[in-house]
């Protein structure tokens, strides 16, 4: 994927990235009481990198979201999810029983902690989903010359 030679498209794509990401966070925050949530927010977040890749070339987008950063984020988001579930378990509740995180039996406090737990796992979902979507795009759209370099490195590793 080459960079477009249109200044307008490149400029607008670059400038719109923070707005898209802000909107992704907005969607994430609204997941609890309306349409939205971690999955949708994550996809929107990833789309900002896809836009960069489309407008400014594969390499530009990949530098903004490098594999070095995304690959650890993939399991990390799930770990946030599982970690909150396990924390609830360690706090004496069932797995994923967020209310138990409060450490008190007051229903009001438990209700609050239930919300915190829910938002926490949504954040985890968002991290994984956005990393997965961006990785999917960049891996599938990888230009032939990059692919050739990756293959060469792989073969050298095989020989070693």
């Amino acid at each position: 994927m080459r960079s477009t030679d249109s200044l307008i498209v490149r400029y607008i794509a670059r400038r719109s990235v923070p707005f898209i990401q802000l909107y992704a966070l907005y969607v994430l925050g609204h997941g609890e009481d309306g349409p939205g949530g971690g999955f949708q927010g994550g996809v929107i977040f990833a789309s900002s990198f896809v836009l960069l890749g489309l407008a400014n070339g594969w390499g530009y987008g990949r530098r903004a979201a490098p594999a070095r950063l995304l690959d650890p984020l993939l399991p990390l988001g799930c770990l946030i999810y599982l970690g909150i579930g396990l924390a609830a378990l360690l706090a004496g509740g069932a797995f994923l029983e967020y209310g138990a995180l409060a450490g008190s039996d007051d229903p009001e406090v438990r209700r609050h902690w239930h919300h915190y737990g829910l938002i926490g796992i949504e954040v985890g979902v968002m991290v994984t989903v956005s990393a997965a979507m961006a990785t999917l795009f960049f891996e599938m759209a990888r230009p032939a010359r990059v692919q050739a370099r990756v293959d060469r490195v792989g073969e050298e590793a095989d020989r070693a």
Binding site: D71, P72, L74, P75, L76, C78, L79, L82, G85, L86, L89, G93, A94, F95, L96, E97, Y98, G99, A100, G154, A157, D158, A160
Partner: protein, 491 residues
């Protein structure tokens, strides 16, 4: 912690699957082995606890603290404790076995990813087994399947890619049918929890005559038959087993299709109820009987013609899944006992045989049957493993396979299905034909030339444990009381 075990046996492998890519290449394998060891220990503990409970009760665990009809419930009873123990035990042994094998067959940068996906698949399979919610069953089924597609496609040859793809297409087709079955079930009963659906059936027996319920059961049967590669629907299976990396082959062949078979047992007996098989839709029961019997005969027949050891074993698995399903079609205590025994017996025997194939791939770089010649001289322990496991497949007395056939035959007589007996005998005969071919090559076809190195102990020891299990389960039938109790609990 004891109360949390049902969640922990799933969460620990899942957690490890996510930690493996972060841990880096050195710590990865240790993490895999540790997580699966913990899961195995938990499953054994669950098995003991489930058997201590009085008849008809089960260990129940409400995820997130939401009680059953609303939330998702994990249920451990005698049947799935048996399957869980088999699953986690085999997964642990394969994890021990696979370190050297994957180092030779998987590209170094992909090894941690392979371990991670392997753990995900183990967690998915255990999730299918432990869940008490039909939709959750579908989700775990898809987790296990998607990871299986990836694990297969990582094989060395390019055929692995196509094998993974065709499994993906047929597996997704099966999953879609299962999803439709769940939809029809929900449409008629308005609930997704297995125990709740069963309660609805008990309350309103006239539902058995509803076409929606019958459609649901038909969808479940076809979908799960596709997933477990029951005879006419086995198209994806030989390619998938033959082309996958050795470690994947061992794990898939020993566990994956059996878990789908377990899901069919769970749906047929716990959700729909044993009476539905008899009165609601007897035609499905008869169809399953025919499919199981044809699988038992045709599988070994197809295996005889193969030149690739892994493909040969894959076709033999097509036959062996027939034994697992036969009990469902007979649905009496002895038949079920036979099939439940086969969950363990076949896992041990087929696991051991695929370990031999993996050893061959490790040592000779090929899995052609011809590469077996001279195995008895070069690697006597591996050759003995091949002998024991093959005997168990044939059903020689004092091996585990014999018990399976004995109980299935008794169940068939009890059910008045005389035709099953010659089917079992014919299958043993055909199995003996290809087993003899393997053994003859291994022990009697000598080869001139230097004695090559055997596989390292890290591969030999776990496979010998599987081989020993074939003997121990046959001589001292440890599994028998467990399987009998599970069978009685279902009926």
């Amino acid at each position: 912690m004891d109360a949390q075990l049902p969640a922990l046996v799933i969460v620990v492998p899942l957690l490890a699957a996510l930690l493996v890519p972060l841990a880096g290449r050195r710590a990865a394998w240790g993490l895999v082995a540790l997580a699966l060891l913990l899961a195995f220990a938990g499953c054994v503990r669950l098995l003991v606890r489930a058997h201590a409970l009085p008849e008809g009760e089960a260990i129940r665990y409400a995820l997130g603290g939401w009680a059953a009809p609303v939330g998702i419930e994990y249920v451990v009873d005698r049947l799935n404790a048996l399957v869980l123990t088999m699953l986690s035990g085999v997964a642990f042994l394969v994890a021990l076995w696979m370190r050297r094998s994957t180092a030779r067959e998987i590209r170094p940068p992909a090894v941690t990813g392979y371990y991670s996906v392997f753990l995900l698949m183990a967690a998915g399979l255990m999730g299918i087994t432990i869940t008490g919610d039909v939709f959750n069953l579908y989700v775990f089924l898809e987790i296990a399947s998607i990871t299986a597609y990836v694990l297969i496609a990582m094989g060395r040859r390019r055929q692995a890619l196509y094998a993974g793809y065709s499994y993906l297409i047929l597996g997704s087709l099966g999953a879609t049918f299962i999803l439709l079955g769940i939809g029809h079930l929900y449409m008629a009963t308005g609930t997704l929890a297995m125990a709740d659906i069963a309660a609805v059936f008990a309350r309103e027996p006239q539902l058995y005559d509803s076409s929606v319920i019958r459609t649901a059961f038909a969808f479940f049967t076809v979908g799960l038959a596709l997933k477990m590669a029951l005879f006419p629907l086995h198209g994806w299976q030989p390619g998938a087993y033959a082309e996958a990396p050795s470690a994947t082959s061992v794990f898939l062949a020993a566990t994956a299709t059996k878990v789908s078979a377990y899901a069919l047992y769970r749906v047929a007996f716990t959700v729909f109820g044993v009476r539905f098989l008899e009165t609601g839709l007897p035609v499905v029961r008869d169809a399953l009987l025919v499919m199981a019997c044809s699988a038992i005969v045709v599988g070994p027949l197809l295996a005889i013609r193969q030149h690739d050891l892994k493909r040969l074993l894959a076709y033999s698995s097509v036959g062996q899944i027939g034994y697992v399903v036969l009990g469902l079609a007979l649905h009496n205590a002895d038949g079920l006992t036979g099939s439940f025994l086969h969950f363990w017996n076949h896992a041990a025997a087929k696991g051991a045989l695929f370990c031999v194939a993996g050893a061959l791939a490790y040592r000779a770089g090929t899995t052609q049957v011809a590469a077996l010649k001279g195995l008895g001289r070069r690697a006597p322990l591996t050759a003995m493993l091949l002998t024991v496991a093959a005997c168990s497949m044939v059903g020689v007395p004092l091996t585990a396979g014999f018990l399976t056939k004995w109980y299935l035959a008794r169940g068939a007589l009890e059910a008045g299905q005389w035709a099953v007996i010659p089917v079992l005998l014919a299958s043993s005969l055909f199995t003996a034909v290809y087993a003899w071919r393997l053994l003859q090559l291994a022990w009697f076809a000598d080869e001139d030339g230097p004695v090559a190195e055997d596989v390292p102990w890290s591969m030999r020891a776990p496979s010998l444990v599987l081989g020993a299990a074939c003997l121990v389960l046959g001589v001292a039938p440890l599994a028998l009381p467990v399987a009998q109790a599970a069978a009685e609990a279902l009926l």
